[in-house]
Symmetry: C2
Subunit: 185 residues, 2 copies
Amino acid sequence: MSTRLIKGRKSVRLAKIENQNNRQVTFSKRRNGVFKKANELAVMTGAEVGIIVFPPGSKPYSFGHPNVDETIDKYVGEERPPSPSSPGIDDKYVQMFRKANSMTLNTQLNTLQDQLDFALNLKSKLKEKNKKLESQQEWFKGPIEKMNYTEASMLKEGLEDLLLKVKNYGTERGYGYENGKWKAE
Amino acid sequence: MSTRLIKGRKSVRLAKIENQNNRQVTFSKRRNGVFKKANELAVMTGAEVGIIVFPPGSKPYSFGHPNVDETIDKYVGEERPPSPSSPGIDDKYVQMFRKANSMTLNTQLNTLQDQLDFALNLKSKLKEKNKKLESQQEWFKGPIEKMNYTEASMLKEGLEDLLLKVKNYGTERGYGYENGKWKAE
DNA sequence: GGACCTATTTATAATTG
DNA sequence: TCAATTATAAATAGGTC
């Protein structure tokens, strides 16, 4: 702490980071940065935001706002084809996928399929979690009470960070609550 | 210019912006900010990123990296069920949607459906555009040549901004090239 | 491997043209 | 309604522990 060395950030050129370790660190930092920005965008403007990030050769991370039902109805249009819609929807997507599969941009579509796949799985998991607990308040009250050292920094920014973590709760390799602390990966 | 008034930014509280105009302005700025950050994340770390943003009561904006086929294969796993996969895929998604439709978190799922719907449409449109032109180089060479005042600021950041715009090309209400200039909405 | 620390670079809220 | 400006708040690269 006596010998003050160069810290501070350097300007960054938009190019792939070669050093594997730096790349990994940057990925974590910036992924969180993007999610935080997205959260702010959603909260401040009332927009709905979904993000999926696939790190090379690994399970995806995701972010979504809202994860809480309430705010959705405003713009989703609560007037939906009441109940006969179910079969129609199936056909619609079957056809779209069929058409998609016949196209030349296969890799791109494979990717899309992976993303849809993941998104659907995410929602499934979320639903399971929600079903297990009586209410949403209950749902993340548990983890909050167990928080130790994180508590301080959590309150520092308000619920901002917490919400970010809660929203990543369903993610495969995302945030999780383990051994008394929140872990990012 | 004589009376210097307070410009600079103020600190921001994480809350919905009440003033409609400010909210709209902030939405545009921050949406671009999030997309730019996402683009940097993707380029610098080699990750694949997809974002969908639904402004209240309007068509979605999206961002995706890569939109160009090449870089995908690395992590999508080029080993896919060669061709008999088509029907299997259909069934898979049909079942997932069927199951999804029977759950209680209906609004949330409706939203998801909207997002998937949009994502699929996006890809379809992209494919159409690509088919019309011989190559991708050709594809965005046109718009580039027509650029007027934007040219300068575009080159200022390198191709960064351009790529951002190109990636939003398929978006419903996203960027578009009209009357000699790029418009954001 | 993660939390924390700083020097800087970036993003952006407010305001002007 | 937008692009440009500017003052500041935030994000973050590189380092430490």
